[in-house]
């Protein structure tokens, strides 16, 4: 059995691929629920439908989608250029640390400028952390998949140290967390559940969509990814594209970190993200590496988080099910995309001779 390249790829299937992948994920999830002894239809209803029937859970979905879309949009641009940044989770954490330094070190600074400073520092933090694998790749040809991933654990341990040590809230009963942020050190809310970051996220994703389809920068990124030799011939520098992609994706991941700690989380603590930086990798692929598509993909992945919590409380299914469903979804997307370009051949030719 082997894979053989198809002479032509079907455009219809390329568009249908994420939908087929989602359908296969549903079927697989149903099988898993059945094997656990749950009624698969009831479980699927609780997981995927029920969260969309109440306003508060729809708001929750939007709020959870925001970091996924923000990071996924940045990653989709990087992946188009064949820049494999796997460390967005770490860049998010780095952004959160720098943003969190404002309320931790200057708790009395109550002004819109404090919030602005947090947001800018969040972006800078993500960019700084992302620039490390970019420099290592450009200078030493180090594989950015490994370096960016390993840096995730480094910065998570740094955060752990800070909230257990120097930045711990003195009135916090020895819990490993900083002071709670308040006032102009948190994001304003538009409704009871939706904060301003959600709107900014959508605007950024739309702007990136425009950059990719209409500007020379977007063209440069696409050429670099598809054909590095042609990119050099066009006069584009691969190194500056690598750096640009890391700074963009890292900056957006850092921004997502700043948004999270100034809204949902409201302080620094050892865990500030349920793996948004990793789930955003799925979002980027599910969204066809297109920042506009990422908006829809982010909403779907956010639903998988909410649904995972719902089946946990309603049916006592462990919360690991969320990661399982997300993993299965990514597997099916990649499989569908592969089978669009290749077909499976099962032939074992034998020599026939009279």
């Amino acid at each position: 059995m082997r894979l053989e390249k198809r002479p032509e790829r079907s455009n219809a299937m390329a568009i249908a691929s994420p939908f087929i992948a989602f359908a296969l994920t549903i079927v697989t999830a149903a099988i898993i629920f059945t094997l656990r002894g749950n009624n698969p239809f009831a479980a699927l209803y609780v997981y995927f439908i029920e969260p969309l029937t109440a306003l508060w859970s729809i708001e929750q979905t939007l709020v959870k989608a925001s970091p996924l879309i923000l990071i996924g949009a940045g990653l989709s641009v990087a992946y188009r250029a064949n820049v494999w940044n796997i460390g967005a989770e770490g860049q998010l954490t780095a952004g959160a640390i720098l943003a969190g330094s404002v309320p931790v070190l200057f708790p009395q600074w109550q002004s819109p400028l404090a919030l602005l400073a947090m947001i800018i520092l969040g972006v800078i933090g993500g960019m700084l952390w992302a620039s490390i694998p970019a420099i290592l790749r450009n200078r030493f040809n180090a594989n950015e998949i490994l370096t960016s991933l390993m840096l995730v654990y480094v910065v998570q341990l740094l955060l752990d140290y800070l909230v257990r040590g120097p930045w711990r809230d003195p009135q916090g009963f020895n819990f490993p967390k900083t002071v709670s942020f308040s006032g102009w050190q948190t994001l304003p809310y538009l409704t009871s559940g939706i904060h301003a970051g959600v709107v900014i996220t959508v605007l950024i994703a739309l702007a990136l969509g425009l950059v990719m389809s209409r500007t020379l920068k977007g063209f440069e990124i696409a050429v670099t990814g598809q054909s590095p030799r042609a990119a050099r011939f066009a006069g584009f520098s691969e190194k500056s594209t690598v750096m640009f992609c890391f700074l963009l994706a890292g900056g957006l991941a850092g921004l997502a970190g700043a948004f999270e700690i100034s809204s949902v989380v409201g302080q620094l603590q050892p865990q500030i993200s349920p793996g948004y930086g990793f789930a955003a990798i799925i979002v980027a692929f599910l969204g066809r590496l297109n920042p506009i598509g990422v908006i829809f993909a982010g909403l779907l992945l956010a639903l998988s988080y909410i649904g995972g919590e719902a089946v946990q409380t309603a049916l006592q299914i462990p919360d690991k099910i969320t990661r399982v469903i997300q993993g299965i979804l990514l597997f099916y997307i990649l499989a569908c995309d592969t089978l669009i370009n290749y077909r499976i051949v099962t032939s074992s030719p034998v020599l026939q001779k009279a």
Binding site: E8, T215, L216, V223, Q226, R232, F233, A234, G235, P349
Partner: protein, 510 residues
């Protein structure tokens, strides 16, 4: 085995379909033992498709093969070798870091003893006048010597049929003569040869019969010794070929492109180092650089186009030292460049033609990119103009580059640069894989551009092409370049000697 008929190999009514393209349409080819059979046709006519099926690398859609009268199916190249079919590809499949004997051992079926094999290689190669040192490392050998390895590799398996795909494209004229002797001797011993070539004079000289293919169909079986090169060409193309008109060159043009002792280190273990290359290309002339493939042409192109940088003064464009400038800066100075490899270098395979216009014109044309924004209409207009002026044939209005045939894409990438009317044009292999009619169009356009005051530098392995359009000819070998001589003073023999390195400066005794 019972003998049915006199033919060694018969390909009967072979059809091969790729998608909607009938690459081979009812092709019949019969080869007798001891016969050197020419297989002629333009690029894309379907020659390679048929020989790949004979060698088992592809399977036919319909039709049958017979080997000594028996019907056979050849599922893979190993089966073909077992039958006694050997093939020498145009692009060699050798490991450069291994020795000659190790490379040959890799292709031998079953276990082997390297010592015994080395002895056998030395004996067979000497016997056929193809001297090879079994312990030499391939990386150190010339292209001609590498081809010998491929041929000896086939000979060791005592083939009954040898397929050669454009073997002389990479040889100097002298090396080609040596090859012809070997082939004639093999034929005398009863081995059949299928010989694919574009060089009609050598086909006339060497081959006993010829099958001519056009658009996947056989158009004629002829005796090449009774034809002229012109009549063979006419059969291949299906019409008369436009003769390139070269008006007398403008004399005393100013130097527009100057290479001044250009040197560049090799950027890989098997890349070529450029040594001290100097050349002036003046307004109004076409200068050609001849040379066997892999002697530094690609490296020289990269240094001129700006994909690799040198010291500023090593490359001067219209008086401005530009060796350290990027590709875009050189384009803004009026430079235009066409690389040898179309897909993946000159064009992005998965991009539409209009997007491929942006690739080389984003820096110089404001109607293609304005303040960082793509002007889709502007690019589409340029694309349509190039398609019309150079008769680029395509299926859809704005197809992806990879959907075009090689020749049509070549017309597009050359046309994209000519359309800018550049002051300095550098082309590597301008008509590689292009049919004769379109090749004439491209060559005429190159000459016309130069006569309007541009400097045109052509890097080519095709001597006929060079003699057709060049005013002056230089030869590159092992990264060193000869002086550029007026074309009228050059002959194929002289170029052959230069290709073999007559002008090279040796820094140490060999």
């Amino acid at each position: 085995m019972k003998a049915k008929g006199e033919y060694l190999l018969e390909a009967l009514n072979i059809v091969k379909v790729f998608g909607t393209l009938r690459a081979n349409d009812d092709v019949t080819l019969k080869v007798k033992p001891g016969e050197i059979h020419a297989f002629l046709g333009e690029n894309g006519a379907g020659k390679s498709t048929l020989v790949k099926m004979i060698y088992g690398a592809l399977q036919p859609t319909a039709g049958e093969f017979r080997w000594m009268g028996e019907k056979i199916v050849v599922p893979n190249p190993a089966a073909a070798r077992k039958l006694g079919i050997g093939m020498v590809f145009q692009h060699f499949s050798l490991f450069e870091a291994l020795t000659v004997a190790e490379n040959i051992a890799l292709a031998m079926p079953g276990p082997f003893d390297l010592g015994v094999l080395s002895e056998k290689i030395a004996r067979v190669s000497k016997d056929y006048g193809l001297p090879l040192e079994p312990t030499a490392t391939v990386a150190d050998l010339s292209v001609g010597e590498r081809q010998r390895i491929e041929i000896v590799r086939c000979l060791l398996q005592e083939p009954k049929l040898l397929i050669m795909d454009e073997p002389t494209a990479v040889l100097t004229p002298q090396e080609a003569d040596q090859l012809f002797k070997v082939l004639a001797r093999l034929a005398g011993e009863g081995c059949a040869v299928i010989y694919i070539s574009h060089r009609l004079e050598e086909v006339k000289r060497l081959c006993h019969s010829a099958t001519i293919l056009r658009h996947g169909k056989v158009v004629a079986h002829v005796d090449p010794t009774k034809e002229t090169a012109a009549s063979l060409a006419k059969l291949m193309v299906g019409g008369d070929i436009h003769v390139v008109h070269t008006p007398r060159k403008v004399t005393d043009g100013k130097v527009r492109l100057k290479l001044d002792a250009l040197s560049l280190h090799a950027d890989g273990p098997f890349a070529v180092e450029l040594k001290n290359i100097s050349l002036d290309v003046k307004a109004g002339e076409v200068v050609a650089i001849a040379g066997v493939a892999g002697n530094g042409q690609g490296e020289l192109f990269d240094a001129i186009s700006g994909e690799r940088h040198t010291k500023a003064g090593m490359l001067v464009m219209d008086g401005k030292p530009s060796g350290n400038e990027g590709v875009s800066a050189r384009r803004r100075l009026g430079g235009a460049f066409v690389p040898e490899e179309r897909l993946g270098h000159g064009a992005v395979p998965g991009f539409k033609l209009s997007d491929n216009i942006v690739l080389t014109r984003h820096a110089s044309d404001t109607d293609v990119v304005k303040s960082g924004f793509l002007q889709k209409n502007g690019a589409a207009n340029v694309s349509e103009r190039v398609i019309k002026d150079f008769d680029v044939r395509k299926g859809k209005p704005d197809p992806e580059a990879r959907a075009l045939s090689g020749g049509n894409l070549q017309k597009f990438v050359v046309g994209r640069e000519l359309d800018r009317k550049p002051g300095i044009l550098v082309v590597n292999q301008p008509t590689w894989g292009v049919d004769a009619g379109a090749a004439a169009t491209i060559r005429q356009a190159l000459v016309d551009l130069s006569r309007k005051g541009s400097a045109v530098l052509v890097i080519s392995q095709d001597l006929d092409e060079i003699f057709e359009i060049a005013d002056r000819i230089a030869v590159i070998s092992r990264g060193q370049m000869s002086e550029a001589f007026p074309a009228s003073q050059m002959t194929a023999e002289k170029i052959g000697l230069l290709m073999a390195g007559e002008h090279e400066v040796h820094t140490h005794a060999a």
